[in-house]
Amino acid sequence: MEDLIVRMVSRIVVPFIQVYGFYVILHGHLTPGGSFSGGAILGSSMILFALAFNLERGAKKLSHETSTIVECAGAGWFAILGLVGIYMGQNFLTNKEAGFYMGAPGDLVSSGAIVLITLGLGLKVASTVVTLFYSLIEVEGDAHD
């Protein structure tokens, strides 16, 4: 799709969408929303970019391989944060007693492991959305070969 207006608008809009996505992810423990909604916003910005330009330029920014790896690493990150609790001599997924920094309630850096988990899962959801998009596009591509 060669449309100057769509390209210019999406070029301007994409950074704002991404900042908003990160905002929702990072405030997951304070405000409504969190890793899933924020991740979906973040992932949709990549889809918008790939749709407005073309798949090659989109894949240059974030390739299918990278998004798969980020997806797996995000899920693994959750499990590893849970294992920190066991390493510290507590139960699986223990938060405060395992020595995570709790901060003051209401601050951005607070709530211990929750904020780390939200960050990892937000990236996981974003890359899952992108991976699904790539998978669907590529299946269609195969059919036309």
Binding site: C72, N91, F92
Partner: protein
């Protein structure tokens, strides 16, 4: 803090987390070292054996294990409980899935494209992890989540071959199991509405208190649970997804679907019936009688459908419907002998059905034959495979010295205890029907002459690799050993039944 202490204190959760973590890391490993994926999957199972060994030692010495995730105590936090029933399922799942995996490491390289091979192990480990989670969970919401994980990954391992039949079968399974999980979610919502708890123990106490105020809620919840789990477990009227799925999927997928996945839902259903719902409810609504009728229909029609099948894997899939009927028969009898028989049949059928599917897979691997009529004279060319198949067929029919005999004996005694002689007749008729479709294959394979008309050449037989024959031999030996010495598994089952009733 030593390593052994960590295993000792946390083996319940480490068991499930190790499966999930290994499956998450598998796609990364696949890009880096493709050939290590199978080894990693085997390593996850070996690790699981360590944890399950520790769990069984603790359950036998200390009794039921409760594990609180995150240190939050039950009404608020998530709780995993390992009792004898869960331990029995863990042992069944880990042993059978390990043997299927060993078989699969060779068979899958033949059946799948190399591109999806690493991802297959991801889905396989997810499925096994989710089943183990279902066995130990003590929480409605976790039950629902693990059911979803198991459903999605089961769809993945059915459709992995990405030909037309597989995609159709997995779509069918996806839709029907979505209906099933939808029913379960709805009834969880109904129970949460009146009980206010998600933990099984607390929900049961709360429901007991309010049962006389909201009987309709509980009845609807029970009905929805029943429908959901009957779809998942493929009991007769709602079995339509099962024949397609295992017959088109790769053989290890068929083995794990028919052998384990449909069983775990019956166990969860059993757990809910006895742990959550108040016992007075069953006077109001004869659930157990309904289960008995459905299981009798399932036993009868599963066998009837199996007789007319031409494809060997499709026949085995229909036979699974009949065999899951036995498990439900044990649940429906609701006395200790019958329930022992039902639970024992879970273990026995997991072994014999996965062995039958794997030997069917080995026949397809070595010769490419799927039609039952073409199997004439194959027995002497593939003695190990057809030997295993023969033991499986004998166990299915329930001939003494095989494990099928023991579980059918317990079920038959259970029907006598419950004074329901009609179901004894059903068990006997079904055994004859089993004879009718299993033994012709065996007799044809060993004594049938392959017709060599039109100058047709002999069937080409590839050599069976060691990694495919060893799981078959172990499963066959297991069927015989547990037929002669059933006490080694009955030790756990009898305590589980004692705890349930």
């Amino acid at each position: 803090m030593t390593f052994i202490n960590v295993i000792h204190a946390h083996s319940t959760v480490l068991l499930i987390v190790s499966f999930l973590l290994f499956s998450f890391l598998m796609p990364i490993l696949e890009r880096w070292k493709n050939s290590w994926c199978a080894t990693m999957a085997v390593a996850a199972h070996v690790l699981a054996f360590v944890f399950i060994g520790n769990l069984s030692w603790r359950v036998f010495t200390e009794g039921t294990i409760h594990y609180e995730l995150g240190g939050w105590s039950p009404p608020w936090g998530i709780e995993f409980v390992v009792d004898y029933l869960a331990l029995f399922m863990l042992i069944t799942i880990s042993t059978v899935s390990f043997l299927i995996l060993i078989f699969g490491t060779v068979d899958l390289t033949h059946e799948l494209k190399p591109k999806v091979l690493g991802l297959y192990y991801t889905l396989y480990l997810l499925l096994v992890g989710a089943m183990m989670g279902l066995a130990v969970t003590n929480d409605f919401f976790n039950m629902f989540v693990f059911m979803e994980i198991a459903a999605i990954s089961a769809c993945g391992i059915i459709s992995v071959k990405s030909d037309r039949e597989c995609v159709e079968a997995s779509f069918k399974y996806l839709m029907l199991s979505a209906v099933g999980t939808g029913c379960v979610l709805l009834s969880v919502a109904l129970l949460y509405m009146i009980g206010g708890h998600l933990n099984f123990a607390f929900a049961a106490a709360a429901i007991q208190d309010v049962a006389h105020i909201y009987p309709n809620n509980i009845l609807v919840a029970l009905a929805l649970f029943s429908v959901g789990f009957i779809v998942k477990a493929a009991l007769f009227p709602l079995h339509v997804w099962l024949p397609d799925a295992p017959s088109s999927a790769p053989s290890p997928s068929s083995a794990i679907l028919s052998g384990l996945v449909i069983k775990i839902y019956t166990v969860v259903y059993l757990k809910l019936l006895y742990k959550v719902f108040p016992i007075e409810l069953f006077d109001l609504l004869p659930v157990f009688d309904m289960i008995l009728i459905l299981s009798a229909l399932s036993i009868f029609f599963g066998s009837i459908f199996a007789i007319v099948q031409e494809d060997i894997k499709r026949m085995l899939a229909f036979s699974s419907i009949a065999q899951i009927g036995y498990v439900f028969l044990g649940i429906g009898l609701a006395n200790s002998t019958g329930l022992t028989g039902g639970l024992l049949h879970i273990f026995n059928h997991a072994m014999m059905k996965s062995m039958l599917f794997l030997s069917a897979g080995a026949i397809i691997y070595c010769t490419g034959i799927r039609k039952i009529d073409d199997l004439k004279g194959i027995g002497l060319k593939m003695p190990v495979v057809m030997g295993a198949f023969t033991i499986g067929a004998m166990a299915m029919v329930g001939i003494p010295t095989t494990n099928g005999f023991i579980s059918k004996l317990y079920l038959a005694l259970g029907t006598l205890d419950a004074n329901k002689h009609f179901y004894l007749a059903i068990i006997l008729i079904s055994s004859f029907l089993n004879c009718l479709y299993y033994f012709p294959i065996v007799i044809n394979a060993f004594f049938g002459e392959s017709e060599e008309e039109d100058g047709e050449e002999e069937i080409q037989v590839k050599k069976l690799p060691l990694r495919m024959s060893v799981p078959l031999i172990i499963l066959g030996a297991g069927c015989m050993i547990f037929g002669i010495f059933p006490k080694y598994i009955l030790v756990i089952i009898e305590r589980a039944v004692e705890m349930i009733l």
